[in-house]
Subunit: 362 residues, 2 copies
């Protein structure tokens, strides 16, 4: 942990030097965790060529010491983190030109830079920390693997508990309880439990709808282990699947398998997306696969890179992405099958191993 933080800081400092910046003001909580280890919900971090400063509030006084240790100078601010920032910068005459994170600062705070921070020069930056986060080191991969194992254990425990008459919300409760029992420290996003026609809503969450025989039941959820996320989707049928359900399921399964097998380091994100999309399109369901193929996972549940039509940047070794094709027929139902894949120089490695055969729940 300590070692990787120092490596990250070194890489970031090189980037700051190349951008001719004396310092970076880090406001993204995920970037702050990556650089310092701090997992609280309120912090500002300033990285200079020689120093790392972390400002947080009273609530985290004990936690921040345990998580950050010597990786940054810690200041607990009694009132407002911004007041602490101005005091620190005023006492640091070597800092003249600072970057800030354009994607992670609201306009109101940007105005603070221009007003209370007017004596410094501020430059918008994008992705200075995020580009470091794309390629996971072995420690990060191990944490994602653990988060995958937790999610799969929870799914194994949940499937036998699915039955007619259960509401989607109740089923979400069972799944989330199993995630906690398997050791998930949080839920990376609101669990999607969508049954019957609601399975055609790609972002359905869970409702009071009760499960009926013949329903597709789509479960899209994840686990968190030491801050790192997993993200998995399986779609099952309650009772016996119809011919039409089998057909759609088989197409999605094949699209998933083709994309997971074909994705490679160096391939543009759009090419990975195309593998699944062209197959689904050729089977006549192109219009029913309306979202992109996948996204990176790590400290955030959605992070770089995206696997989408518009993305031409080549994929890098050490990236972990979701592969999640789907077919959604409004009013009828939908199927999505989502796996997590690590890209290595030796090819893709599936981190998820849960069965992809169509499961019919008695």
């Amino acid at each position: 942990m300590t070692d990787s933080r120092f490596q990250r800081l070194t890489a970031l400092r090189d980037a700051l030097a190349r951008a001719d910046l004396d310092a970076l003001l880090v406001t993204s909580l995920a970037n702050i965790r990556y650089l310092t280890g701090f997992s609280g919900s309120n912090a500002l971090v300033v990285i200079t060529a020689k120093e790392s400063l972390l400002l947080t509030d009273f609530r985290y006084a004990t936690q921040v010491q345990a998580e950050v240790g010597a990786a940054a100078t810690i200041r607990i601010e009694a009132s407002n983190l911004w007041a602490g920032l101005w005091a620190h910068l005023t006492a640091s005459p070597a800092i003249a030109r600072l970057g800030f994170e354009s994607f992670h600062m609201v306009h109101r705070d940007f105005q603070r830079l221009l007003e209370q921070g007017a004596r410094w020069q501020w430059r918008p930056t994008t992705d200075l920390v995020e580009v470091l986060r794309v390629c996971k080191d072995s420690d990060e991969v191990a944490k994602i693997e653990r988060a995958v194992a937790i999610a799969e254990a929870a799914l194994h425990a949940t499937l036998p508990q699915i039955r007619r008459g259960l509401s989607e919300t109740q089923l979400a409760g069972i799944l989330e309880h199993n995630l906690r029992d398997a050791g998930s420290e949080a839920f990376p996003f609101a669990s999607i439990v969508a049954s019957g026609p609601r399975s055609a809503l790609p972002h359905a969450r869970a409702s009071e709808r009760e499960l009926h025989a013949g329903d597709f039941v789509l479960l899209d959820f994840g686990a968190v282990y030491e801050g790192y996320c997993s993200d998995i989707t399986r779609t099952v049928v309650l009772g016996s699947a119809s011919e039409a359900q089998r057909d759609v399921y088989a197409i999605v399964r094949e699209a998933n398998a083709r994309a997971s097998g074909a994705i490679r380091v160096g391939m543009p994100g759009m090419a990975a997306d195309a593998v699944a999309r062209e197959y689904i399109d050729a089977r006549g369901y192109g219009e029913e696969f309306g979202h992109s193929l996948g996204h990176g996972i790590g400290l955030e549940i959605h992070e770089a890179p995206r696997l989408a039509k518009s993305i031409d940047a080549p994929l890098l070794a050490g990236t972990v992405v979701t592969i999640e094709p789907g077919i959604y027929r409004a009013g009828w139902g939908g199927v999505r099958i989502e796996d997590d894949v690590l890209l290595t120089d030796n090819g893709p490695r599936l981190l998820t191993s849960f069965a992809r055969d169509l499961i019919e729940i008695d």
Copy 2:
């Protein structure tokens, strides 16, 4: 629902006219839900004197029709919501001067306004919709009451399941399962389950620590019903409470009761905070109550107003706030007791009714 949305739009349009704005670009998802009913995770809304336009993506095509209906013109954008926005504005010659939400737009999107949106005049606004949200109507209060009832039912079901050897994470799983069974559609924030010395961490979440006899067990959690949140904290003792635990608990309980009894419409937030703070301070624990007394709840788990030392604005009728004093002794443990209170012209009305006596779990 429909009626209240039109009232809200009328009030907002009055505010736009006063601010000499032709339109407001709404980017806060909570504000979008308040104005249109849409609960998805990706949308832009433009409100003019005569029209409401909502832009979202494919994933929400079915959901947005059901939730928004005739309350706005709906456009499903194939690629990027911003491209749709520019097209709409270009086709609307009456729109010249627009407000945007300074607290709810990242700098990167603000740059879009200055670049692709350079032909329009953009004005930062703050709280134009939030000020409407402060005073809840009877329909909103009823939803918060339901969210409170769900949280309390879950707590009733959970307390008998607390036992030694359970980890905080496992206990969180039990609590969250009970929240789902009671009908919570989501978790408004990461459940805090903090035991023993960890109860002194005001934002502890849940860890692998196992519960021991003599531990304080602090549970801070909430429920969501039709988008509206509740927020409740109770602290119990596993086994028999020590004298010191009883003393600290009694002080927090009395501070909670005094603040809940004294808070009034027209009182500044700082005065409500002072009721609890002065009592705790007089008992010698002022330094150990490091956070503010409470915050508004509604569509968001933290919204206006704050009950804090620095807030001198008078409290309004129809506001729902938390009252959550605490005492935190590092390395020893902490107590927080949190209720939800509706402010009416006839005085405060406690929405939470769960017992505040110290509970010792056998």
